[in-house]
Symmetry: C2
Subunit: 226 residues, 2 copies
């Protein structure tokens, strides 16, 4: 397990936890390592919840099959990131989504109950870890709220602008790069890629923004902060 210290130290759950303590805590949490071949399920809809997963290696895709059998990708979890925590912390009995390994992957399996119960060792970092978990869930919460803000805009143009203005604010600069390609951005905002592309073109012609690939620059239109 020690081989993954570098990964785990970058995991939000273990922020502020040193290597020695991490080893103790993993034991105290009943951590188990699992290897999943490419394409195989990490867990399936209907499986009991109550765990928190950490991707150590590879990548895991979380999917939901709707009523009509259409599959949609909810998230792709990279090494150091966690999954399943929202369902487990919310106290749902069984997972309402499934997850599959995109590549050959290794995941760490933590027991959510043991996380929330005072361990017999009374390890000093237990509280820190719960606070880390709470922070991670709360941050996901804010990310989801922001996404809803963007999606709630009426037109494609407004959705793009809401997203870009937020990015500029978050990154603290009118010039910034975004972490999505055009297709992923369109999916994220819930719009058509081609329509979005057309709107971005209009915004460029109108002098409201400039962009090249993932790089954007919002121009000062003189209307703000009067």
């Amino acid at each position: 397990m020690e081989q993954f210290f570098a990964i785990l130290s970058r995991c939000s759950l273990f922020a502020g936890v040193g290597q020695e303590e991490m080893g103790l805590m993993l034991h105290c949490l009943g951590a188990r390592e699992r290897a999943i071949p490419k394409g195989e399920p990490v867990f399936l809809e209907g499986d009991p919840a109550g765990f928190i997963g950490v991707v150590l290696e590879g990548a895991v895709q979380v999917v939901r099959d709707d009523y009509y059998g259409t599959r949609s990708v909810l998230a792709v979890i990279q090494p150091g990131e966690i999954f399943g925590e929202a369902f487990s912390c919310a106290g749902v009995e069984t997972m309402p989504v499934s997850a599959f390994a995109l590549k050959g992957s290794k995941v760490l399996w933590l027991d959510c109950k043991r996380m929330l119960t005072v361990c017999s060792n009374a390890c000093q970092f237990h509280n820190r870890m719960v606070a880390n978990l709470l922070r991670a869930v709360a941050r996901k919460n804010l990310a989801l709220s922001r996404k809803i803000q963007f999606m709630s805009q009426k037109t494609t143009k407004e959705k793009i602008m809401a997203y870009l203005l937020d990015q500029a604010k978050v990154q603290g600069c009118a010039a910034f790069t975004i972490p999505h390609d055009r297709q992923a951005l369109a999916d994220f905002l819930g719009v058509e890629r081609s329509a979005m592309s057309a709107e971005i073109g209009k915004l460029k012609k109108a002098g409201i923004l400039d962009c090249k690939g993932p790089w954007f620059h919002l121009r000062d239109t003189g209307e703000e902060e009067l």
Copy 2:
């Protein structure tokens, strides 16, 4: 403070906490009661975060003013419900939204740091409370995810059906009542009320559902569970 025991005992934060313990915990958390006249701010954008609010009486509206000054209502908090917890638990410095009292209201102000730090009294319910908080934040998380699922559907009809199928699943019955009027449902799903009304009419004519006011009944179309 004891006068609000009935309200607080229904608050998700205090689930499983008895009246005597609640009094001790409120003291231990540095709880303060505040009265806010109708229309006055509960907190304003830019105020320091780090608190968790509980509405004891009245109602509180959380709003966000976007870049262009347009105000949108993010939530209405009723007695027994909490607010501000996502921002405080996520560790943001200042509130990115504002809140106003819809009526003359009383709110309880809890210090988030004291919630997450082991109290000197080492009260036995402290851990329970942190778990309750985590559960509340995680549940909000799931609610937001579901909303995104609905809003991600392409057409108005698909959004309505996704919502209604989810409600039927949650309520465990093909016949159920929803907690929104038509306007609120349209706002929630991010569609036009009139367009939604028209689509609901079509679905009724097609025999896919029946409804009257807030009551809906999804008919078995024979296509499911083949």
